[in-house]
Amino acid sequence: MKNWKIHIPPGVQDYLPDECYNKRKIEEKIRRIFYLNGYDEIETPIFEYFDVFTGGKSSIEQEQMYKFFEIGGRILVLRPDNTMPIARIAATKMKNASLPLRLSYISSIYRYEEMQYGKQREVAQAGMELLGVEGPEGDAEVISTAVQILLELGLKEFQIDIGQVDFFKGLIEEAGLDEEQSEEIRSLIDHKNMLGLEVLLRKFSFSSKVKEILLNLPKLYGNADMLKKARNLSLSPRCRNAIDNLEEVYGIIQDYGLGNYITFDLGMVQSLKYYTGMIFRGMTRELGYPICAGGRYDGLASDFGYDLPATGFALGIKRILMVLERQRALEKIPGIDYLVVVDQNVRSIGYSRMQALRKAGNRVEYFIPSKECQDPLAYARKKGIRRVLIVQARGTTEVVIDSLLDRVMDAKMNEGGETQ
């Protein structure tokens, strides 16, 4: 019989010390950048009513949510997304706060997904939302903050790929297609499946001009020159506005000196119910999937009763960890600086010595003899602690251990142990 006590379910993980140390460092750096950019951190419950995440603009399928029941009450879910709770708060508890709202979070989401990369079902995220701002300045703020973070985290190379869902929506509107037909086309464009697209478009009777643009959509990606190419296709006002918006966003990012991180893809057409304008993904050569993603989602807060334009993004912390590991930029957790051995009759002196060392930023471990190890020097050698401080009534001795030679290098008397 399998002993379930010692296993964890698929899709979750333990963060052991070295990984946890790096995860916290990443989170601290991200938190700092959010803070410096004027974003206030908030925390939402780990479970909420199912209703918060369904209907309207939600792009999360019911099957993806971990559901359970409030005793005698409604269906609850483990938070499958961080943005919707923030939209809920913006539309309710912070409705009277002055706009724009700048909010950030560092917390995990939970989704049941069969095919998700690495099959993670608890996904550590950090993200920010800018609510109450229309237009390119807000989008550029989100993208440039993402770039600031990726630079601060020390990623050696990365790029931000930007799309605009209104370009596709404009074409669908012009073609006069219903939801099912547009979903078929969307899926083929999303997979850059030119052949499938060509075969499917033959079935429809709308204008060949729109067909040709749709057919070319999978190829409309690259640097800023691509936007010029897209503009030269004869377009409806809605599509033109989408291109204008991207050019404005790009112009601002160029003014910030970050233009070289940017590429474009008008065939980026996922989560159309949710997104309403610019969308983007961050990527590196080291990883086959995005490290961050976001975009404009103007309609979402109105699901909660407050019509508010909004834009934001989220980073996948585990993915950042993987990229940094592949770029050899992760660190081992720092070792213990001092092992302190204290005679029972000078405990108070010992304790104040330890506190003084800790105040100076040292990692200090108090030696507690055990059955396995009575000898502090042997223990220090085993754990790789270089300095052992022995506090006795007659004074304090510092022993420096040379791990290579495995012997005591230097023992010196330290006056003052007694007199304190």
């Binding site: 095919m115 990369y117 997979h191 590196t284 050569r285 086959g288 999937y289």
Partner: protein
């Protein structure tokens, strides 16, 4: 460096033929050795030979940037990839097959029993039509299903239809046409765009020339 995952077997041979026609150096890929990884001379390309159903997995995770694999495998695995080119070889059809005289008999079952190596394709096809089925996953000799009475029909790929005929089975419905596809990881296409696009252009040129011949 670009990593290309090839589906072991006949598709790999045809893929190598195509790459050679496109003047892409395949290194010692043609050697019938047991090696799993091959590099070309200037180290710009690396080839890995994997089981066909693993090709989409390697590419989705970005362990390979490019893959060459049958559309049947892509449909079955349902991975999120860019499907860039129809390579035109490995042509066959995905079909529902069975005994035609039983064609009307089997729909009277509440749940049609379908034997297949492609459970996802079968499930999607029948559920799109609102039919409930019972899937029996087999790993080979699927034709035996209806003969032995294990299943009512099969879902499988057919090329000439000879195997079906020899066993008295017939194609009842065609699900879709199948051929080899070139797929690309969604991130690699952007982060390694110049290398990958050059490769794709070379291959596309060979395909176009082939059509004009």
């Amino acid at each position: 460096m670009i990593t290309i995952a090839l589906a072991k077997g006949r598709l790999a041979d045809e893929s190598i033929g195509l790459l050679k026609k496109a003047n892409i150096d395949c290194g010692d890929l043609e050697d019938p050795s047991r090696k799993l990884i091959f590099q070309n001379r200037d180290q710009s390309l690396r080839f890995i030979l994997v089981k066909p159903s693993d090709v989409p997995t390697y590419v989705e995770y970005g362990a390979a940037d490019i893959g060459i694999v049958g559309k049947d495998t892509l449909l079955e695995e349902g991975r999120s990839l860019y499907e860039m080119i129809d390579l035109g070889f490995g042509k066959c059809r995905m079909v529902v097959a069975g005994f035609p005289e039983k064609k009307n008999a089997w729909i009277t079952y509440a749940n049609t029993r379908v034997a297949t190596k492609y459970p996802n394709i079968a499930r999607n096809y029948f559920s799109q039509r609102g039919e409930s089925i019972e899937i029996i996953k087999l790993n080979g000799s699927v034709e035996l299903g209806p003969i032995i009475g294990l299943s009512d029909v099969i879902v499988d790929i057919v090329e000439s239809g000879r195997t079906l005929k020899e066993n008295g089975l017939e194609v009842l419905e065609e699900i879709c046409k199948i051929s080899a596809r070139l797929v690309v990881n969604r991130i690699s296409l952007k982060t390694k765009s110049s290398e990958i696009n050059r490769l794709i252009e070379c291959i596309q040129k060979v395909l176009e020339d082939g059509i004009n011949d």
